[in-house]
Amino acid sequence: MYLGRVTGRVVATQRYPGIEGVPLQWVQPLDEDGEPMGAMLVACDVVGSGPGDLVHFVDGREAALACPTTFVPVDATIIGYVEQAAHADGRMIGRGN
């Protein structure tokens, strides 16, 4: 499971059966300093997040388990909406920064 920020959305009308109606979001994974970590990816969203939100997402087989239909071709799903990530030295990664 990783920390990330939603940077945009992806709209796809033609979908594989089972993932119709699940929103797709662009996610930029973040490291513990809140800095971008690796490439952006497209993730399914089951918590109703939107661009700008701090989230956590799961990848691999577990991503499909979080979807309404569990046997679907999905490799990343946003599973939580993060209010705040507190660093040991007092820094905060929040919704706005």
Partner: protein, 104 residues
């Protein structure tokens, strides 16, 4: 499994039901000698770990689901132990038993 430093906590008010009530930790994966490696992860704490601890982490779904007791849970990363010390090649690479500030 790998070892990691707990560098922070994560608060998520809205999340999938399997995560309700679970403590989430920000984890920095480490090499056996304690150098930073790989991608920062968020893990579920099942070992009463806290910020500053060096911990043992599994990043695999089947194990995570069995730890949480939910066969359909979308979970993957779980903290399953707090490390006392790491030994390799006859040396002590990390020792939690040392006084604070003297950890390697």
């Amino acid at each position: 499994m790998f070892i990691a430093d707990v560098v922070g906590t994560v608060v998520a008010p809205v999340q999938i039901p399997v995560l309700f009530g679970q403590k989430l930790l920000l984890l920095r994966p480490l090499t056996p000698r304690g150098k930073r490696t790989g991608k920062t992860r968020i893990g579920i704490d099942r070992a009463q770990a806290g910020v500053g601890d060096r911990v043992l982490v599994i990043d695999e779904g089947n194990s995570a689901r069995s730890v949480l007791g939910d066969p359909k849970g979308a979970v993957k990363t779980v903290v399953i132990g707090v490390i006392d010390y790491v030994e390799g090649q006859g040396e002590l690479w990390y020792d939690h038993r040392r006084p604070t500030g003297d950890k390697r």
